[in-house]
Symmetry: C2
Subunit: 501 residues, 2 copies
């Protein structure tokens, strides 16, 4: 082996999304002496930081033989500068590949094997095909409860773990799939107004049109580093930030990279993802909201109960107190689906506006009340009333503004430049709204990448509509995306079912 071959960085500006790619000339000394070829995995070091990148080979004068370039993601990871010296070395065969193949072939993994895999994942040593194979090999009930404990523990151990110095530290999570169910910012505002510590880190959307971090980002900066988070929580008792910037459960963030394009989120991965973030965030108490409904992520009471059992088993093994609640998942919550549209609904609830969505308000109060009781802040049976007082009095809104300002300043959510209403083709009663189709349409319209894009619902189940009345409005940032979503909706009119009386 060797200490690495030196090359000089040149900026080419190629964005490959999150994949780390290095570009080198085919006839450079490194490629020739090491036998590197396109798709070789190599180690790239600069200034004490080393990453693993996939090689793309250059057969033109884009680069000189002594130069190399990096994809935008790799350039950022290494904090590259034009003309910098980097060192390139071969990546030795990964020992964890034996465990990965064992899992693919259907064998159980123990703590050590799981750690071995998750460490390589977290260090960026896995190319996307390994990540995809791992996720697929663990789906369909192929991770048992103890393997899920191993996976969760490994995910916690390869990242950093926060400590807030005092207990209880509370958290909440919604096992997603319900469009518009954006209770978190409201719950954080209420329970921190009640004096609890709730340093909430959220993810961006995996397969949905908006994650809490995406929505909150239209209201305040969320990509805070750890010192900034500590400052906000120290001052206000809580925050609503993106977890990705603080390296909690970094392996999870990397696995999501392949889960998202495959619309995949298996039970074991889901439990490990949720609980590893909570444990790493230093939480002592977590409330898990599972919406149950035919077109929600969890479709039946049976599936919800199975998931609850696994969540409780794994949380117990990790030393985290959790409370699991089942909620109505039969239709979207609030009116907006998409980052900015959901943010608008949140503001309406927090500000006690007359037309604020009642369902979003009541759900948030239920969850906040449950948390207040779970942590002993309110006596059993009095939590929701306590939460309602904090919301109605404006204390929750004042706390939300304080948190948003501490995070960098309250923002006004953007408004889409292209909108189009979709109207009822007959009058009658709304009998169903398909969560999955709503999400899909919102995504085709551009959410969550386009923050103002999404679906704005004007009806709920049991609403009465007349022919020609708008059922919902599509919001998009580009005409192409608007057209794309509308042509999908043309093919799927059952998104809102209206039955004549």
């Amino acid at each position: 082996m060797n200490a690495g071959h030196k090359l000089r960085l040149k900026w080419l500006g190629i964005d490959t999304y999150q994949e780390a790619v290095i570009y080198m000339r085919r006839d450079c000394e490194v490629c020739r002496s090491e036998g590197f070829e396109a798709q070789s995995r190599v180690r790239v070091a600069r200034n004490g930081i080393e990453i693993v990148a996939t090689l793309n080979v250059i057969d033109s004068d884009l680069l000189a033989p002594h130069q190399a370039s990096l994809s935008s993601a790799a350039w950022r990871q290494l904090d590259g500068r034009e003309g910098d010296t980097i060192r390139v070395r071969p990546l030795p065969p990964l020992e964890s590949l034996i465990a990965l193949r064992s899992k693919i072939y259907g064998h159980r993994l123990n703590d050590e094997q799981m750690y071995c895999i998750i460490e390589d994942v977290a260090r960026g040593r896995y190319p996307n095909i390994y990540l995809a194979a791992f996720v697929a090999a663990c789906a369909g009930g192929r991770l048992d409860a103890d393997e899920t404990v191993s996976l969760t523990r490994a995910m916690v151990n390869v990242g950093q773990r926060l400590d807030w110095g005092s207990a209880p530290v509370v958290d909440k999570h919604c096992v997603g799939g319900l469009p518009g169910n954006r209770t978190t910012p409201i719950v954080v505002a209420i329970v921190t107004a009640a004096g609890l510590i709730m340093p909430k880190t959220s993810s961006r959307a995996i397969t949905s049109p908006a994650g809490t971090a995406d929505t909150m980002e239209t209201l305040a900066p969320v990509a805070l580093d750890l010192p900034a988070i500590r400052r906000v929580v120290g001052k206000e008792g809580g925050c609503i930030v993106w977890g990705g910037a603080v390296n909690l459960s970094p392996a999870d963030d990397i696995l999501i990279r392949v889960e998202r394009p495959m619309d995949l989120d298996s039970e074991g991965q889901l439990v490990a993802s949720v609980l590893s973030k909570k444990v790493a965030a230093g939480s002592s108490h977590a409330l898990i909201d599972i919406p149950v409904g035919y077109t929600a992520k969890i479709r039946s009471q049976h599936a919800a109960t199975v998931l609850k059992t696994l969540l409780e088993y794994v949380a117990g093994n990790l030393g985290l107190a959790i409370q699991v609640v089942f909620t109505d998942g039969s239709q979207p919550v609030g009116r907006g689906v998409g980052p900015a549209l959901e943010a608008r609904d949140i503001l309406a609830v927090l500000r006690n506006e007359a037309d604020a969505p009642a369902d979003l308000r009541e759900r948030s109060l239920t969850l906040a009340g449950t948390l207040l009781e779970f942590c002993g802040t309110a006596a059993i049976g009095t939590g929701v009333a306590h939460a309602r007082r904090l919301l109605d009095s404006g204390q929750a809104w004042a706390k939300f503004v304080a948190i948003a300002n501490a995070q960098g300043g309250l923002r006004t959510p953007p408004v889409a430049t292209h909108t189009h209403p979709v109207c009822a083709v007959k009058g009658g009663r709304v009998t169903a709204i398909d969560n999955r189709l709503v999400s899909r349409a919102a995504k085709l319209a551009g959410a969550p990448r386009a923050a103002s894009a999404g679906i704005d619902l004007h009806v709920m189940v049991d609403s009465h509509v007349d022919i020609g009345m708008p059922l919902f409005t599509v919001h998009a940032e580009t005409p192409g995306e608007l057209e794309y979503a509308l042509s999908y909706l043309d093919m799927h009119p059952q998104i809102v079912v209206v039955e004549e009386r």
Copy 2:
């Protein structure tokens, strides 16, 4: 939807291996109006041919906003020229993703679902992460026998299928894992000398240091198109070519792209891969050789019997007559392991050289004799003697030369520029040679990409060695790879086990 946005091609010379990538400016009209971002999958058309490519976004002046570039593989597929106009359109959501996710979640797939997946695979619509997830979801016994029939049939149906006009058309396949077991060219030479039709298409290595196509390529051109194959077979009765150029079972070639870097080859995929190629190649009779040995791919008689049963079940459903034979898989065959080293052994056998490897010769005779009996060319019990006469008389060698010349000209295999012997550290008897370590070392030395690289064994099991005698020699094309293989061998001295008496 739309007919596509026009862009002009610019050559950047970026080799991403087999992945089709398109490069476009972030601020180009296409990306802005369609909402494309890095990793978006898009359809790219030129002159009536359309492929699917992954988008990498350019944030520099590598391209002007009206220009696009393609990775080398995509450029070849579209037969691109500098300045050509291409059309770019969004890729609609893939319907087969529903079936793929169903398989990942552990459900059975029917004929129609499997066809839906395999058609998208064959048309290049799957990014590598989908391919990897599909392969992983089918491994570990998760494809049942009927799903394997569906997979095999789908693989045949999405590609072209050859018809040779007369029967029998014979074929053979070795279920790999045994280094140096390169009987195919010898068997083809013998049975075609006996008058049978054997249009042999072989694959390149998947996880081994050499596939038959890699080895044969050091002796003659193998990347023949279909008219060329028909000409060779019409003239000589047989050929030994690479199957990848004739679009037989194209989905299999694409799945191999992810199986290879993961060293993965599951039972269902293996059976579908082998049999789909045979059926698509128009074979009526196929001989399947399964070497059984502790360090071979198939480790036990039980596993071999399970595989035989599945092969026979699937072949029966596809209308292919097969005969499965179990052979000794306890150690490598011949002396060389790696394309050129194996080719040298083949030449020695065909030319009846005095020091030709006896094991390679006897195996080839057994397989050729079995085929002659299976197809009725020789009476039962006389096949091997018949094969031996054709080899000893020089008729097989003359036929091989004729085939190689018809394929484009007999070649002399290359010789490595860097070699290093590994010697016995004590005297005694060789009690074991580890097939897997031999293969691994040959691959680290550069095989099969570097044709002259590999391992040249100087001993077999039961050989007697003195201290300091060379056990084998490592061959490489670069000093880096030689060093790499040697350092691996340092850590794994059990590759050849010598026991003192």
